[in-house]
Amino acid sequence: MAGGGISSGGQGSDMYEGLGARLILPAWAIIGFFLVLPVGLMLIYSFLTKEFRGGVIWEFSLAAYDQFFFDRGLFGDEPPKIEWTYINIFWRSIWQAALATVFCLFIGFPTAWFIATRSGSNRQIWLFLITIPYWVNLLIRTISMKFLIRDNGPLNEFLLWTGLVDSPLHIINTNFAVQLGLFYSYLPFMVLPIYASVERYNFAFSEAAADLYASKWVTLRLIILPIVKPGIIAGCILVFVPSLGAFLAPDLLGGAKNFMIGSLIEEQFKGNAGNWPFGAAISMILLSMVMVVLTLYARAQSKEEASR
């Protein structure tokens, strides 16, 4: 059983044997009632009929999913064509999240490696410095980024001053700005799991590889990367999943043209123009995608564990 028995030395009875069900009950009650049940209800809502001023009419309908996938013309009487609007938004979201993940990996791996190879107290300080920004309010971080990269913001002023550019770079409200925002939001998520893997890496492997004539970079590719792979995959998932459903970065940095799933969902619940069943359906599709990623990950992980 995962995680069980660690404290009991593998055998014998645990301290609070028999009290488990009672102790876990509050967590079950709160999370079950206020998360599992609501997600279930959301699933039901995605199959209901929309009410025009927000909310739903309790009547079964596939309209929400139909609207997502098919275009039936302005009055709903034309033969269905594939509706690309929403699929494109999803596709763009996946693409943006993937790019942000790749950025994070390329910066995050060397950083994690560097930190993990520092000596004791230095390492703690580096780690601390990397984690602090994560705990700063995401909204504030995103606002800061917006402030920094806007057309007449400090970044452009600096670039103009140095003469590297002669007119301001237009970064804000582009795809790149969104990627930058996502990268900035979730970079610590990449560093921490990789750090944990590297910290446990046994440098005798590197010595053995060097002894057998491997160069450092070959050692990195053939020995180190495969061994710390679990940390890398965990980091990628921790960045990709929240990026996919991100709201603040695309909303504040991407502007109206660079819509992602998060903004699309939010729009369905704002004011009177909303469409609750449609919003619920999009949320369900997003949730299913995330669950697929997490399930694949869990599978791969248990396979990895089994093969050891």
Binding site: I6, G20, P26, A27, L35, I107, V136
Partner: protein, 268 residues
């Protein structure tokens, strides 16, 4: 002449780390610097001044921010207290109570708020509260915050509990302590650093939350992040930078505290 080859060192990694640090801090530092700008414009530098901090406390938006800040703090403290208690109980169940029915499912459940994308949790909560006729307001925000703070409180608590061998509690029991006494007199004091870290992290997470709060709050109630977001929608104003700096310092203070507590715990 023989120079020892350091197998741990890769050319460029150190530079990337510094770059990484720079990228993480540059936006924050820029905002902090500009918060002291004595100018009505956010673009033009008009010299050092504390006027925007004055504006935060006494300016036209001061009342709005004060109320929002108070709401944020009350909610964050309550959510952190409740979620820390639930997380401590859950950690004891999952790490110290042997087998019971639904144990492996419980691991998934406790971490579920981390796995479900925040926006999905937000939508689900909104739908749920409206369906059962909960009036949006304080209580809806609080309940939603408790739910997603649980895994954040759970992580440091469970990590700490795992590092404490159960032999101490067994020794207490051997010395005639009941299970409850062993828990209260031995496990809980030893757990203290983990519980404090868990509480502080839950507090920050609650204080920081925007997306879920934005969905489940009613029309009349604002927390600091939603109030700031509302302001920023009309463009970044200098007072936002001052308030951001203040909030940033609060976060840094709390994380530093949590870190120091954790370190002290490790040394014991």
């Amino acid at each position: 002449m023989t120079r020892k080859v350091d197998l741990r060192r890769f050319t460029g990694f150190q530079a990337i780390t510094w770059a990484c640090l720079f990228m993480l801090y540059a936006p924050l530092i820029v905002v902090m610097v500009y918060s002291f700008n004595d100018s009505n414009s956010i673009t033009i530098w008009g010299g050092l001044s504390l006027r925007w901090y004055g504006d935060v406390f006494w300016g036209p938006e001061a009342e709005k921010f004060k109320v929002a800040a108070l709401n944020s703090i009350v909610i964050a403290v309550s959510a952190a207290v409740v979620s820390t208690a639930i997380a401590t109980s859950a950690a004891t169940a999952l790490l110290r109570a042997g087998r019971f029915r639904g144990k492996s499912l419980s691991f998934v459940l406790v971490n579920m708020p981390l796995m479900v994308p925040e926006i999905v949790t937000a939508v689900a909560s909104l739908i749920f509260f409206s369906a059962i006729g909960f009036t949006a307001g304080y209580l809806t925000i609080l309940v939603a915050h408790i739910v997603f703070c649980i895994p954040f409180a759970y992580l440091p608590i469970a990590a700490r509990m795992q590092s404490i061998e159960d032999v101490y509690e067994h020794a207490a029991q051997d010395l005639y302590a009941s299970k409850w006494q062993a828990f209260r007199l031995i496990l809980l004091p030893l757990m203290a650093p983990g519980i404090i870290s868990g509480f502080l992290l839950a507090f920050i997470i609650s204080l920081d939350d925007f997306i879920i709060t934005n969905f489940v709050k009613g029309a009349g109630i604002e927390t600091l992040p939603t109030a700031i977001f509302g302001s920023v929608k009309q463009g970044i104003k200098p007072n936002i930078m001052a308030i951001s700096t203040l909030l940033l310092l609060v976060s840094v203070l709390f994380v530093t505290l949590s870190w120091l507590v954790g370190r002290k715990g490790q040394k014991q």
